[in-house]
Symmetry: C2
Subunit: 390 residues, 2 copies
């Protein structure tokens, strides 16, 4: 049901010819109101794609009437022409939607744009702009699935999630299968809700949700130039949920989508749940979790189903977190293979056959914790990413 699960939204996904293989590559999501409230979170990479620069400006107004998303090209590192292309796309969407007949008046300053694909290649505007016409013509209240399919790059499956509460719904779609790292990932996410929430409420709920979901998945340590997570509210349900209830629903959808991203990461054979416990504060727990998540030697060991806890300790040792090396404990799939910084339970007790592997790192200095999700490192990852642009 994706972005059209909530009332007040239409969507479409079509093949505009941006991808050479003819697969769907252009998605359009329209908020038909009555509200046009919106919030967004973007990559923290300082090298940002043109559509990120554009959409960040759009978000300052707190209103979004439509989102146009393309796969097949990131429009990153494309200079002033790239920004002009993004601007022209937003203008084209506004004009096309206004041409559909009477109704909401669209203007380019309320059209968010998102792109994903190869960096450093200009978008084929001769294909993208006519594609906007085709996408607008295909808009429907059932178009969420097609939109989710059209934003895929190396994703093997499209990702959607929906939660329904007391008369209102939060739903969404996500793409992302590589370059997954905090801040956020090569991910495009559009969430919609028919709850009646203003842009300040959306912004607060979205930031709280991404902080502990998308920002805590780390497939390969590589931060993208294009990450965009948008939350649009139509208010069409007429329901005004309590903030906490709404924030929980947004978090649930983000958590579901984030888990799907890890489960479909490029070349991965394992999903690694890293829980850091016993930290003096959450920042320490996150720092240690990320360090473990990014250790290539450990990621190889997990791939080989080798409970190599020494590599976990090596990774912890590179952080500035509070801990005593002689008090560290590590469990892999529930077996405490390292106790007090040294050999613990028999490593042969650890079974790692399942796709999900659980690592627990106990810093033994406090009571705070955090969970980071990561993937293993495989020959398939190397293969997929050494051949990507050729």
């Amino acid at each position: 049901m994706s972005v059209t699960a909530a009332q007040g939204f239409t969507a479409a996904g079509i093949a505009a010819g941006i991808k050479a293989n003819g697969n769907p590559d252009l998605a359009l999501v329209v908020n038909n109101g009555p509200r046009l409230a919106a919030a967004g979170v973007f990559t923290s990479n300082r090298v940002k794609a043109a559509p990120v620069h554009w959409s960040e400006q759009v978000m300052r107004g707190g209103a979004v009437s439509a989102v146009i998303l393309n796969s097949g090209g990131a429009n990153a590192c494309t200079g002033p022409k790239g920004f002009q292309d993004t601007h022209a796309t937003a203008e084209k969407v506004a004009a096309t939607l206004n041409g559909l007949g009477p109704g909401a008046e669209h203007n380019a300053g309320e059209i968010a744009v998102a792109s994903t694909g190869l960096i450093g290649v200009p978008l084929p505007m001769d294909k993208l702009l006519p594609g906007v016409d085709a996408a607008a013509a295909a808009l429907s209240a059932d178009g969420g699935e097609a939109a989710a399919i059209a934003i895929k790059t190396t994703d093997t499956v499209h990702k959607t999630a929906v939660v329904t509460r007391d008369g209102w719904t939060v739903g969404g779609m996500a793409k992302g299968a590589g370059m997954l790292a905090p801040g956020l990932a090569t991910m495009l996410v559009v969430l919609t809700t028919d709850a009646d929430v203003d842009s300040a409420g959306l912004d607060k709920a979205l930031r709280a949700a991404t902080r502990t979901t998308f920002d805590r998945i780390d497939s390969d340590g590589c931060m993208s130039t294009n990450d965009t997570v948008l939350l649009l509210a139509s208010g069409a349900s007429g329901q005004v949920p309590a903030y906490d209830e709404f924030a929980e629903a947004v978090r649930a959808v983000c958590d579901d989508l984030a888990r799907q991203l890890i489960g479909d990461a490029e070349g991965a054979s394992k999903d690694i749940r890293i829980e850091v416990i016993g930290a003096v504060n959450e920042d320490d727990a996150v720092e240690v979790g990320r360090s473990i998540a990014r250790n290539n030697l450990l990621k190889c060991a997990i791939h080989g189903e080798d409970p190599n806890w020494g590599r976990v300790l090596s990774a912890i040792g590179t952080t500035k977190a509070s801990f005593d090396p002689d008090r560290l404990n590590v469990a892999i799939n529930g077996i405490w293979v390292c106790k007090n910084g040294s050999v613990g339970q028999d490593r042969d007790l650890v079974s790692m056959k399942d796709r999900e592997v659980r690592i627990t790192a106990d810093l033994a200095t406090g009571s705070e914790s955090a969970v980071i999700w990561a993937n293993d490192l495989t020959a398939e990852y190397v293969h997929e990413n050494s051949a990507y642009s050729s």
Copy 2:
């Protein structure tokens, strides 16, 4: 010629049975004086192996009469017993050398110990201690080569380097083929000189040398628990070099050995020389260089001979260095494929057939620079490190 190129040193390398495959695994280097000056640099990982804790204490005295090194086991994360084993090894070396007959009086407090191999596995002391007798019996002024061979783990070749100046020599050996990352690497390095230099002079020259050599190679971003670089001076040449001249010679040997480590990194098919120029200061240049060196997606692209400069920009964008994204320039093997943050020269002009690949990242904000060496990421790396401990 290795550690016995300089006068005043004897060495040996033997098979003590620590490695199951019967390969050499125990090296002994003895300084026969007249000086016993020494300096050391150790891993900055907070999880340190027992021999690192021991040798750091030994270095405080500024005198080392012998170094015992084993491969086949890191003696890291082995608890109090691991430290007792290191201590017992040093005591055994002192007693054994004293038993060889009249001459220098050895004591355990001047015996450095270094270990390398798997973390979290106790050393087989029943094999190591008798091995000390065998190593002592094999000591010779030609033993440097055998010592260099005995410290290998996954190294495919042993690494030695020697420079000779005006009547004095600096030589050394190194091992290390994985976990290579700043601070320092899974590397054991022993350098010897017959120049007459006190421990303060050795320490200053060694720290200056490692800062721009071993600390700027980053094969896989993983920092070890055991890294040890020692410099011993016998004074046997009777020559007292000027500090600058001595420091340059130490740096030349370190640079040679560091380059050999990158050239033999586990599973690597490319050596990547990353030069960051146009930085406002050296710290910025090093931060950017390390970020590029550790980007898995870029490392895969280099493996695939794909001049994917977008991944270089993505990596630069994650740093705090001073730069304007729209002024960044990137050359790969001399072709400026990215100019002013956007598409530059035709990427098809870039040839990447050779093992050495040169990336130049121009931050265009200053005049400082730094060079970091890295390796590509390959299926062989994954294979070697997913099967290592099994």
